[in-house]
Amino acid sequence: MGKLDIQYLTYQQISQRAEEFLLTYHPSKQLPVPIEEIIEFKLGVDIVPIPNLQKDFEIEGFTSSDLKIVYVDQFILSERPARYRFTLAHEIGHRVLHKKIFKEIRITSVKSWKAFVDLADPQDYSALEFQGYAFGGLILVPPPELKRLMEKNLPNIKNLIKISKSRNIDREQYLDYAKEKIAQELAPIFDVSTEVIIKRIEYDKLEMLIP
């Protein structure tokens, strides 16, 4: 089995694709982005819960090779809504960004699938997964909304920064705490975890807004 024909996309290119996706499927830009409804009712993709997918296989979700189903761990679906939403958004990233690759890989039998999985290059997998991850974050936490809400929430950390500066604490030392505080405010608005917000702040280089 040869290497996959992966197009290495920059973060800006993935961001552009995410913006186009939202313009098509969620033009109102209302938050949180209703990713589950977009998948089920606008894309016509079935969501299929699998019990113990994470426990038995350490897999949270995956897309079927015909792109018609997103399988997801049933516990995450029922009990971890933010993680569930991110898993869905990540999988839709594969559908949007990797449709061509999915179509080109011709798996004709269960045996050839097993050989494909066994021989797949881990670097190819990492590249595809990173792109899916980035796309997921970008559609659930769109850049303009993140910047706007971060600016709106900056006054909430004003006191923290003031105290830190009065005690001669370096910016580098309070920056993580400041990001965490902002992420705690924004995570419920976007309905994602604080980790996703922090990553998005970092990828969009919005740390520079924190004095």
Binding site: E36, E40, P49, S64, Y71, H98, V110
Partner: protein, 124 residues
């Protein structure tokens, strides 16, 4: 007369009309999302009891006596007697297998688990 849609497809359409995602629909009505997903995809039959069917119809807010109400029960009746394939055949299974998936720790899935995963997908 042959129906164009199956009970499961109609069920999902009604759920969509109400804008109820699978998760929300199941949580609000205390239903198992795995079973509802299987029923919608025709992998398990609609409930046999009238009471249960009516209960589901009320969850979908199908108005009693409406066209949708009759279609819902007609499709459920049309489904009775059909035995769903409880196991996906290999050519169908191939379309459902994942091409990209990564474990949480970023490790490859062992051959033993790969075999098991294919069987889990076959039954899902």
């Amino acid at each position: 007369m042959a129906h164009k849609v199956t009970f499961g497809q109609f069920f999902k359409k009604m759920r969509g009309k109400k804008g109820l995602s699978l998760r929300r629909f199941c949580i609000e009505n205390n239903l198992d999302p795995g079973n509802i997903s299987k029923m919608e995809r025709g992998l398990i039959p609609p409930p046999k009891s009238q009471e249960k069917l009516e209960q589901y119809a009320s969850y979908l807010e199908v108005e009693k006596g409406s066209d949708d109400w009759y279609e819902y029960f007609d499709l459920a009746a049309a489904h009775s007697g059909k035995i769903p394939d409880d196991l996906m055949k290999d050519d169908e299974l191939v379309k459902k297998l994942p091409l990209v998936f990564r474990t949480i720790r970023g490790q490859k899935v062992s051959k033993e688990k790969i075999n098991k995963l294919a069987e889990v997908i076959r039954k899902s």
